[in-house]
Each structure stands twice: as C-alpha cells, then as structure tokens.
C-alpha cells in the first residue's frame, strides 16, 4: 500500500482486510485441529469461562498457567505461534505496555532497584501489577483469537444463543457484519477505480473533496441497499420475527471439553485467590 494513499483510503483498506480476515478465517477454522472439532457453543462458553477465571485471578503463576494452556491449545489446533505472535502478542504488548510501565514506578512499595540517572524507584508491587496486567491482556487476547481462528464467524454468532441472546439480535449482528464488509468492499473498489484514473498527487483540498463525495455516494448506496435487503427479506416471508435453525450437536469430545474447561476455570478461580 503506497504512502501516497490518503489516511481514509488506508483506513478503509485496512478495515476491509481486517474484517475479511476476522469474518472468514475459513482456512484455519476448516483445519482438523482439536478446537476445530469442538461444538462452537462449547468453545464460546469454555473460552469465556477461562477469560473470566484469569481476570479474577490475583496470582501471576495461575494466569501464566492459563496462558500456557492457551498456547498448547493453539498448537493442538494447528494455529501457528508465529501468527499468534504477530497478530496478538506484539499488538497486545504495544497497547498494554505504555499503560503498564508507569505502574512499575508509581505503585507504592519496597524499592528493589533505582533507574540510573533519574533515580526512579522500581517497586516489587509495581512490577507485579504491571506483570499481572500484561499477562491478563495477553492471555485474554490469545484465547479470544483462538476462538476466532478456529471457529467460522457464523458459528460464533449462532453459539451466542446459548447465552439466551435474542435470535433477532444475533441475526441483525450477522447481517450487520456481512453488509459492513460489502460496503467496505464497495468503498475499496471506489478508491481503486479513482486511483486508476488519477495521475500524479492530489492536493489536500482535492483529496478532501473526493473523500466527501465518496462518503456521500456510499451513504446513498447504503440507504438503497438496506431498503432492498428489507424487501428481499419480506419477499421470502419475513414479518418482523426471525425464525432460524439450531443444528448444533454435542459429541462425547464436546462433553469432555466442557468438563476440561469447567475444571480448568474452577481451578484457576480457586488457586488465583
């Protein structure tokens, strides 16, 4: 992606790629690993329970144990550690680090070291607080991405019904994601089409004018699309209430996984106190 492209174009392109990846991680979700074999409801409930357990835990070694379990699950599910490192660990560290680092110096406690030249104290309590924060974020992000990488998006949405999320909400969420992707695709194509007809760099005002006109066209298309989608739903009998099929089946492996998730989360809550 060239640096000549404007901020909005780069953002739209980036969003489009991210959405494509998040919504359709079909390749890794279609692999034959451990997590891919599990029912989506088990994965959503199990991973959520592990995240809650590690957030409730106040002991670093317990959180690190869950993190190690997540890494083991990734390996058993053929999710590459390089992918996790590049997409999760580095990003989480980059966002959480700046928040955690000041805690090392600001948290009151016994100083175990002083930063040369400026003399700021590094406290044990500060180090523990920063490590807990980093470990919690890395573990939660790893578990969440494992779910995304090993479960088709539509299964994740369907699994939300386990938590008594209303059907209409789940359906609207699914449709929203699908049409956001379509509109991003349209915006992406509009920018590409414009680039193919543009010679040389545009001035700031020209770019802003183009962006505003693109936004206007997109808004108009969105409005028309939403009207047409509603008509297409009506045409097939939609009368305001949504009816869907629930076709999940629990296997022996799923029940074993439920037991494992419950045991691990229960142990983490107990040991973390």
């Amino acid at each position: 992606m060239s640096a000549r492209h404007g901020f909005i174009e780069r953002t739209v392109d980036g969003l489009y790629e991210a959405m494509e990846h998040a919504l359709h991680a079909e390749q890794s979700a279609g692999a034959t690993g451990l997590l891919q074999k599990l029912d989506a409801r088990v994965k959503v409930a199990g991973i959520l329970s592990l995240i809650v357990a590690e957030v409730l835990s106040h002991r670093l070694w317990v959180i690190v144990s869950i993190f190690a379990g997540a890494v083991a699950l990734a390996m058993l599910s053929h999710v590459s550690l390089a992918t996790l490192a590049s997409r999760v660990w580095i990003g989480a560290l980059a966002f959480t680090g700046p928040i955690a680092i000041p805690a090392i110096f600001l948290t009151p406690g016994a100083a175990i070291h002083r930063v040369p030249a400026i003399g700021w104290p590094v406290t044990m309590q500060g180090l523990t607080t920063a490590a807990l924060l980093l470990a919690r974020v890395e573990t939660a992000a790893t578990l969440t991405l494992l779910l995304v990488f090993t479960t088709p998006w539509n299964h994740v949405l369907k699994a939300l019904r386990v938590f008594r999320v209303p059907v209409v909400f789940v359906v609207i969420l699914g449709m929203t994601c699908r049409y956001i992707l379509l509109m991003l695709e349209t915006a992406h194509e509009m920018f590409e089409s414009r680039r193919s007809r543009t010679v040389g760099a545009l001035t700031g005002p020209e770019r802003r004018r183009m962006t505003v006109s693109t936004a206007g066209v997109l808004l108009s298309r969105t409005s028309q699309l939403s009207g047409d989608v509603y008509l297409a739903m009506q045409s097939r009998g939609f009368r305001g209430e949504v009816y869907v099929l629930d076709d999940f089946r629990m296997s022996r492996l799923d029940w074993s996984a439920v037991a494992a998730f419950v045991a691990l989360a229960g142990w983490a809550v107990w040991a973390g106190h």
Binding site: N154, L157, G174, R178, D228, M233, R236, Y243
Partner: protein, 261 residues
Amino acid sequence: MLFELDRLTYQYEQLTALDNLTLSIPEGSRIALLGANGSGKSTMLRILDGLHFANSGAVRFRGDELTEDRFGDDEFAFSFRKQVGLVFQNPDIQLFNPTVFDEVAFGPLQLRWPKSEVRERVGDILDRLRIAHLRDRVPHRLSGGEKKRVALASVLVLDPAVLLLDEPTASLDPRSQSQLIDLLVEWGGGAKSVIVATHDLGDLEDIADRCYLLDRGRLVAERSPADVLRDRELLERTNLVHAHRHRHAGELHSHPHVHRD
C-alpha cells in the same frame, strides 16, 4: 387470471417508473418483460411481488387486489409469499445469511414450516441445483454464478406457483447462463408461471411464450417471442438491438446487434 394490472402508475418521487399500465397475465404462462435499462421491468416485478404498491390504478393476484392493507393480514401475506417468489437481479441483496444452508432455509422458516421438513427440502434443492458442496460456505465468498444459484435456490425451495426473475442471466458466464435457462425451462414441468424481466433476446423463445415490451414505463407491445424477434424496427425503437458494424475480409459489414447483457 394470475395477475391483472389496471391503469397502474408507480412513481419514485418525481420519476414515473410505470405509467398507466394495463395488462393481464394468465395462469401457467411464461412471460418475458422486455425493455432497456430504466424501462420499468424491475419495478413491475416488485409490484407483482407485493413489495411496492401502486400510486394509482390497481394490481390483482388471482382476483385479490394487492394493497399494503391486504399484506397486513398474516394469513394473506403467508399464502401470497408461499405462492409467489422473486429472484432479485443483484444476489448480494438477497444473500444476507451466514451460510448457504441458512440462506436457503430462511424462507421456509419464516413461513413456519416444520424444521424437519425445512432440512429435507433445503437438502433436496441444493442437490437439484448442484450446489450441495456449498452448503456451509459464506454466501459473500461465492463467485457470481454460485451466488445466482444460491439466490435461485432460496426462492425455489418454497416451490412457488409463480416465479419472478429479474435479469436472471445478467453477469453470468455463457455456461452458467445455459444451465440456468435449462433449469427454468424444466422447472415445474410447465405447470408453473414464470415471469422474467430481461433485455437478453438470445434465449427468449426458450423461456417465454409471451412478451411484453416496456419503454419508459409504458407498455408498447404484447407479442409472441417469434414476432418480437422478427420486428427489428420495434427492437431498435426500444433499444434492445442496434446496428453493429465490423469488417469481414476488409469490407465494412453491418447487421443488427443483439444485447446479450
């Protein structure tokens, strides 16, 4: 009569899409609505499907006038939706479910069919349209031809007595076009009514036994497909053909050019 349009006018704000249209469509007929872009074909299909309602005049389906109030009655609405199915021109607006299976099952579920029957009928139609291998795919990721087939399956699964199709062969490759035409010709064994909006004259005689030509919202002719194809002046006047000039052995040669898409 299946459909009767009586001096029907429909306007989009200032634009008159259908202008004082009067025509009748008998039961079991195969109709082609012909016309260039903007002639009112798509609007007419939406009116026949009870999605848009006339500004003036009336449209009747088997004697029942189609009005907004009439569709407020659940019993009538369900009965109508079971009998009449519309395949939109742009499959992207019709494919809003997370998987192909869910997409095809959407209509039967909204019409409150038993779930076991839904599963069985969806499986059957996916097999029949040779798209069973796509059942767990995300519709958005399919090719144009596959999307069209899924959109068609999502309507055919309801086994409607009347099938409305808006430019069914648009943006399909020649092989997919031919397969789709074969399917339409075979569908229902000739007992169903099919109304196709198109400006593709190539397969007209296969898909229709009667043609209505529209031009800027007005009905300009009602003929058999053979008569329409013979009347070059009419086709040129309604922008369905134009003179095509090219060279053969160095000599400029001109003949009517038929719009395929």
